[in-house]
Amino acid sequence: MQQVHNTSTPLTGITLVGSYLPRTRLSRKSIAAANSWANPGLVSKGKGHRAVCSHDEDAITMAVAAARAALSAGDCDAIQALYFASTTLPFADRQNAGIISEALSLPTSLKTLDATGSLRCATSSLIAALSSGETQLLVAADKRRTQPASAMEMTVGDAAAAVVTGQQELMATYLGSYSTSVDMTDHYRAQHAEFDYQLEERWIREEGLLKLIPQAIETLLAQLALDPGEIAHLILPGADSRTGAAIAGRCDIAQTTVCNNLELECGNSGSAHPLLLLNSALENAQPGEKILLVGFGQGCDVLLFETTELVAQLGSEKPVQSLLDGGVEDDNYQRYLSINQLVQLDWGMRAERDNKTSQSAFYRHRKTVTGFIGGRCKHCDTPQFPRRPICANPECRRPGEQHDEPFKDKPAEVKSFTEDWLALCYNPPLKYGNVRFEGGGVVMMEFTDFDVGEVQVGTPLRMEFRIKDEDNKRGFRRYFWKAGPIYSGR
């Protein structure tokens, strides 16, 4: 067993946090209604909602959204490293963190790494980030596909969460951590498997959760010479409330400290869940409280934090709660199945389109495409997208260099729109239109996350990094920005 990691001066900790939940919340009742003929046991699990990605979301797009929630424009230049933790990386060999970094327009001089292979990849990465003393951005996201009518289909949800570590302006100070590595195959997913293989619940509970987690917690507390009664928030992702209470009991921690695992509200978001629950705990914590965060998966990570006065602002904004409140219920189980390619619908001839990407053109234009960076004319100061060699302002039309003009964070509104039932879209209709950006610039772009009839001329918009096209022939995925609604938490 490893030694407890003790922080040394200067203090490190968490400086910023951000979270993301897809807007759609599939009602578990609809899942149960569709599948109870095959498995009547699902009816009792048909409570609450799971946050589900739209057709144009994946772990990368959710990660970008969570990171943007954490960072304001001025924070990006200070980031020294970006870790992306996920068990559902869209690319096995093309650094996913690199895509996120370019979408966020982080500096090119940056350490990046994808962390994967276990549901505790985010907590392990967090320990590494905190131990570095650097200003690091850690973002975790998972979009796990689940087999229809399985028990997992009822418990999993899609989400992302980000934290920034550093040494200045800490909202939570890092007090230490302890990790164990135990090859317990409570579940696993082989290299090319579509779904997890899940083992028996009772065995996982008795031999896994109720043994490995308490052992790790007790070790950490002992080495830090802390009384279990000092823990104000105990975060146990992956443990249901009954198991959570049992773990707390075994550690002599008050059962009332066990944080809501958000199982009913959004489901278990895999590797992102420890960070999502941490962010939730932080916004519910008072200054000076101790938060114990557990990551479980083939062993255990336990991290201890103490909140500072700076946590109060989070408490007044409650961003995670806003996200939880901002969902739109969906009872269309068939649509969810289709979006997750669990059923193959006939999308017609337009789905035969070849979406081959010219990689050299993409490489040349990647700041434009991934970063949504246009130009600002040096002569007339007009913002424009895309940047062309000659200014788009009809009163100017002068050639010459243009300044970089980021569009992704500009306020915008609908200038014109349509809902197109002829165009190919895996969640029809394809909604798009001209978007007018505050301060100048117009872009015809796709809308996302709007219901039919929700878009109107003048509707305020925010930009979202989303999947633009899939090249199924070559296994490539393109990303660009889409215009989405402004709603609670976003």
């Binding site: 001839m349 070849d354 495409v369 424009q384 349509t418 197109d420 165009a423 001209n434 117009v442 393109r478």
Partner: protein
């Protein structure tokens, strides 16, 4: 100082196939049919033609990227032949090439022929195509109806006209096209319909319903042009139809990226129309134009085009349309042959098909739909998207020998 094209070139023969779903023939058959009608009309031999311009739009599914298919199909005598493509203005571009060729003095007799065999693509509408290696990375996978539908949302917002009123006027446009197409035995759609049925049709791209959209068709149209002197030499003594103006305006990216355009009209139509009127010497299009053939790819396109051509005051098109101003019996008949909506829309042929109708009407040869002694007509194409397009405006009229020289 350039003097423009007015009365420098006349049309001596035209041909046009029936537009529609020609499952039983190929593009070559359509070319031959349109050409045969045109040379017979002109009263010339094939080998008197000295140069040719060939309009063909969706080449991948048709006849390839050059004009070889035209030369081979017609067994032309190794004359210069050029394929042109400029979105929905392609047919008009073929005519412009031939007209400019003759006007330049490079040749006396030239051929313009357009064709498309869109039904062989297998798509209900236009086929899926790449927008280019860069635009594919960011531009929405928009369709033609979805792009033009946005005119309606912006028009409604800009003019404070309710979508219901706008849809009534759009429905009248489509109803009129069906009335006109019903009268034309070369039209693709020859059925009458009702405004009620139009308004109840399924939505294609909000707010456009099925009847607000033209379909795609197979078809070919053809013109033979020459100098007025050559026409006289060929014994053409009666009424001659001449080119009064041919203007083209292309977007330069300002509508795409700059907010000076409000999205409710076609900027290029206004620019091309102004130039075309000036070139033709037209001061008041409402009183001087006897008929117009405009690019009604969608009902909303025809609606805003009435304003962009100056035939309605800006913001007043709905009222004029509903009052019947552009009906066959109205002040300025629009698309009396059925338009894109009902005559059909094989892209490469459409501009020439419009010229064909004006030509027939000016000669008094339009049969049941003949208007009362028209002297001047206009054709209009709008290709691409409202924020990124190619627009042509051409004016045809009775030849006036005193107009030039």
């Amino acid at each position: 100082m350039a003097q423009g094209i007015k009365d420098k070139v006349v049309i001596i023969g035209m041909g046009c196939t029936r537009f529609g779903e020609h499952w039983d023939c190929s593009a070559e058959d359509l070319i031959v049919e349109a050409f045969t009608e045109a040379v017979a009309d002109a009263g010339i031999e094939r080998d008197q033609i000295e140069a040719a311009w060939f309009g063909l739009s969706v080449d991948e599914q048709n006849l390839g990227k050059s004009a070889l298919s035209l030369s081979e199909t017609l067994r032309l005598p190794n004359i210069p032949a050029t394929r042109v493509e400029n979105m929905c203005a392609t047919g008009t571009e073929a005519l412009r090439g031939a007209v400019y060729g003759v006007a330049s003095g490079a040749c006396d007799i030239a051929l313009a022929l357009g064709v498309d065999k869109l039904k062989d693509t297998g798509y209900g509408g236009l086929p899926e195509r790449t927008k280019g290696t860069f635009d594919d990375l960011w531009s929405p996978s928009a369709t033609a109806p979805g792009s033009f539908a946005q005119l309606a949302s912006a028009y409604s917002a800009s003019h404070g006209i309710s979508m219901d009123t706008l849809k009534q006027a759009m429905a009248h446009v489509s109803w009129k096209s069906h009335e006109n197409g019903f009268m034309n035995d070369k039209a693709h759609l020859r059925s009458r319909t009702t405004v009620e049925k139009i308004l109840k049709a399924p939505t294609i791209a909000y707010p456009l319903g099925l009847f607000d959209c033209c379909g795609v068709s197979d078809g070919s149209a053809c013109a033979i042009v020459c100098t007025p002197e050559k026409a006289a030499e060929l014994g053409k003594t009666g009424t001659l139809v001449s080119i009064k103006s041919m203007q083209l305006a292309l977007s330069n990216g300002s509508e795409l990226s700059h907010d000076s355009w409000d999205g409710s009209y076609a900027l290029t139509t206004r620019v091309a129309a102004e130039r075309a009127y000036r070139e033709a010497g037209i001061e008041n299009p409402v009183t001087e134009l006897d008929l117009v053939e405009v690019h009604d790819c969608f009902s909303i396109t025809e609606l805003v085009t009435m304003e962009d051509l100056g035939l309605s005051e800006v913001g007043n098109a709905c009222e004029d349309i509903l009052a019947g101003k552009f009906d066959a019996s109205g002040q300025i008949p629009c698309n009396v042959d059925g338009g894109l909506k009902c005559f059909g829309h094989p892209i490469g042929a459409t501009g020439l098909r419009m010229a064909y109708e004006i030509y027939l009407q000016l000669h008094g040869r339009a049969g049941d739909r003949q208007l009362d002694n028209p002297r001047t007509g206009l054709t209009h194409n709008l290709g691409g998207f409202p924020n990124k397009n190619v627009c042509s405006v051409s004016i045809l009229g009775h030849y006036d020998s005193g107009a030039t020289r």
